[in-house]
Amino acid sequence: MRSSQFSAACGAFLSMYVLAAAAQTGTPQAPSGPAAMWKAECASCHMAYPPGLLPERSWRKMMAELDQHFGQNASLDAAATKAILGYLAENSAERGTSRRSARFLGAVPANAIPLRITANAHFVREHREVTPDVWKLPKVGSPANCNACHSDAEEGSFSGRNVKIPR
């Protein structure tokens, strides 16, 4: 066996070893890009809210105070915080091209740095017909649980046609 063949064989064997080891421990593969990290980290406690629902300054504040995130500690290590903030900033309401981003942004007062998406005036207006008892349904729980009624919310779609209130 020539040395190049040998090294190729070793490389192939080692790759298999790595894959087998990963499969054996059932380790969730570390998310690679910032978008995957955003989804994996933010969606571990709640739906990963589309970045276009808040201005960049809000995401900067949010990511700077993750240890006090709506009353809970959601801290991340510095590398993950930086990568996810980069993704959020690049896709924030100012950068978004959708009509929705523009409307959410338009409802934010010039000097405000809002954190709570559900307090946005456009959000409130869009949900004016939703009565308090609907928010309290066991399968809804709170206005923050978008995907309880918007079946495609995780994909960033909030079309009124896809709204289905759970029973």
């Binding site: 040395s3 190049s4 040998f6 090294s7 190729a8 070793c10 490389g11 080692l14 790759s15 070893y17 790595v18 080891a21 990963a22 421990t25 059932g26 380790t27 969730p28 570390a30 406690c45 709640h46 739906m47 240890d67 709506f70 009353g71 809970q72 500690n73 959601a74 801290s75 991340l76 290590d77 729980g141 709170s142 923050a144 649980n145």
Partner: protein
């Protein structure tokens, strides 16, 4: 030096070796992860012997009074048994079971375990957990079949 340890070989193998060492730093079996905490405990306290699943059981179920006035414990979100799926206290999002006996992905990544200890100890106990507490906790979770 044997001739197969060539530059070519190193070039081919290096990414793989790096991947393996990276995995070594993060991925482990729950038992290996627990051994890591045991090594840490021995460093902190030479008299350390072993972790206690029964102490972990008590810790998991111990209800503490939070400064918000609420009585809470690990079981508040993770339910009475780590075999069950839990529910996030605020968002109601499902929390997959903690016990590796029903959820193989649990306690296989030291970074992930530390991330959640840091968050949850602060949220429930309003302080960091000790290495002894973390080890007891994992010993209990692993004992739940």
């Amino acid at each position: 030096m044997p001739n197969f340890v060539s530059t070519k070989f190193l070039r081919a193998a290096l990414p793989v070796l790096l991947a393996m060492s990276w995995m070594g730093a993060h991925a482990a079996s729950p038992g290996e992860l627990l051994q890591g905490y045991a090594a840490q405990s021995r460093k902190e306290d030479p008299a350390f012997k072993e972790f206690s699943a029964s102490a972990g059981d008590k810790f998991y179920h111990a209800s503490v009074k939070h400064s918000s006035g609420r009585q809470i414990s690990c079981a508040t979100c993770h339910t009475d048994s780590p075999r069950n799926a839990g529910k996030h206290d605020k968002t109601s999002k499902e929390i997959p079971p903690l016990a590796p006996s029903v959820n193989k992905t649990r306690f296989t990544d030291s970074g992930n375990a530390e991330k959640w200890f840091k968050r949850n100890c602060q949220d429930v106990l309003e302080r960091a957990c000790t290495t002894q507490e973390k080890g007891n906790f994992i010993a209990y979770i692993l004992s739940v079949k």
